[in-house]
């Protein structure tokens, strides 16, 4: 059995009087790809934000390789440096070039030599066919290219866990494929990934496990076959029916 990378124990999050996460337990093992599905407002994004310490949990624990990262004595920046995040809206820095975006954290947070950071960035960007865009600014790139740069930015320093928050939702349909292909390559390279997604076909083909969230709970989870082919609970069936037969 491979090692546990991420573990959530009884995580709760409440905004005002509204419970967004209710006693969420989740475990992700090394090299595992887990897809989070569910309607908007079901708590997917909040779950990712809690893991990245953007939101503080109201109860329960989040453990990253056994370290309790919800402990107030833990430095959040040190935790975030261990986790890669890719956002729906790319969030590249418009004032930096592609190379500047990709190497910023490696140089300023992880203390790499500029030469090392540049070399690794060039290698990774070259692999995905963006080797000629190193000095381009983000506004010169298509959405798909921007998102792939954002992924390289997140993985440059080999994070222990990669969080993908609906990374194809802001893309034109013809650009979705290139981004998803890249995620597939990451999985092949052994990355541990937790991704919130609306791309059910992609979740089915890439994820080792699918987690369906409903009303702030993990309502049902299992292999893609179990969830998509024979969902056990009515809410899961209803959600899938709505999203698959639009």
């Amino acid at each position: 059995m491979s090692e546990t990378v991420l573990e959530l124990r009884g995580v709760r999050k409440r905004f005002d009087k509204h419970d967004v996460l209710k006693l969420v337990d989740l475990e992700i093992r090394e090299h595992e790809v887990v897809a989070l599905i569910g309607a908007s407002g079901s708590g997917k994004s909040t779950l990712l934000r809690v893991i990245n310490l953007i939101e503080r949990v109201d109860d329960g624990q989040v453990l990253l390789r056994g370290d309790d990262i919800t402990d107030p004595r833990v430095k959040p920046d040190a935790v975030r440096a261990r986790i890669g995040v890719v956002f729906q809206q790319f969030n590249l820095f418009p004032h930096l070039t592609v190379l500047g975006n990709v190497t910023l954290a490696a140089r300023k947070v992880h203390g790499w030599d500029a030469a090392d950071a540049d070399a690794k960035a060039k290698e990774l960007l070259g692999k995905i066919g963006l080797g000629d865009k190193l000095d381009a600014y983000p506004d010169r790139l298509s959405g798909g290219q921007q998102q792939r740069v954002a992924i390289v930015r997140a993985i440059l320093t080999d994070p222990e866990l990669l969080l993908l928050d609906e990374i194809t939702s802001a893309l034109d349909p013809q650009l979705v494929g290139e981004v998803l292909d890249m995620v597939r390559d990451l999985k092949a390279a052994g990355a541990t990934i937790l991704m919130a997604t609306h791309e059910m076909a992609f979740a089915r083909s890439v994820a080792d496990r699918v987690v369906f969230m409903h009303n702030g709970r993990i309502h049902e989870q299992g292999t893609p076959e179990q969830i998509f082919d024979s969902p056990q609970l009515p809410e899961t069936r209803e959600f899938l029916a709505r999203i698959l037969h639009r």
């Binding site: 419970d19 209710k22 109201d58 109860d59 329960g60 919800t70 107030p72 004595r73 709970r217």
Partner: protein
Amino acid sequence: MTDSSRAAQDAAWEPSALELERREYRRAASLRSAAVAFLSTAVFAALVAVGLSNSPGWDAVKHTFFNVPVAIEAFPAVLEGLWLNIRALFFATLGVAIFGTLIAVLRSLRGPVFFPIRFLAATYTDLVRGAPLLIVLYLVGFGIPALQIVPRMPAVFWGTLAIIITYSAYVAEVLRAGLDSVHPSQRIAARSLGLSHGQTLRLVVIPQGVRKVVPALMNDFVSMQKDVGLISVLGAVDAVRAAQIEVAHTYNFTPYVVAALLFIAISFPMIRLTDHVTARMTRREQNAGTV
């Protein structure tokens, strides 16, 4: 799944021992940082007080600038002068709001037909922003009356006019930046609804543009609040002039300090309000990013 047992746990959400311990730790940490802040402030204040009172000229300075009897005697005259500043400020604010907006709109007019107007407006803001306020005051306050084509007006009138001329240029630039920051798609959306150019500007662009630059505008207002004190150079008996007269009587500079404190007192609410509005806008923008 033990769904029913979970529901029961939910209904009675009592924070776990772990969560309570975390809250206690955070509370202690924030108490600790508050104590550190208080202590460092006290030490800093004590150092400044000791440093000042031990400087060789402190007694002379205290006598000349912080003389309580002189302050009490000068206070009524300076306060009366301040009333003139407040009235000047009122009219200056109105004037700047109207004139500044006009210049900003003229500068944002599109199309070659409007080139001369744009050019004039641009020249105006460039020249006026470059000129020292004091010199604008002299030019307007002594130059225009000397032409003898306008009826005689009190000095405060010319002083206020000079302030309006200067601050309109600054405010116009701030507003123009705001108008330019409204995304072109907003204009297109308004025009495609059939709104005219003027309606688009008035109902869609200006409301959004102004909102974005409110903190900068309020900052300009705070600045203007104290600069109305400069109308004293034209001879208007405002707070600064009244203080000057008192100083001439007593050879004691305390009345200037009194005037300064009064100016600070009237600007303080606006400064706090500016901070508040800026903080609220920042919060709102951050919220927009975290749906």
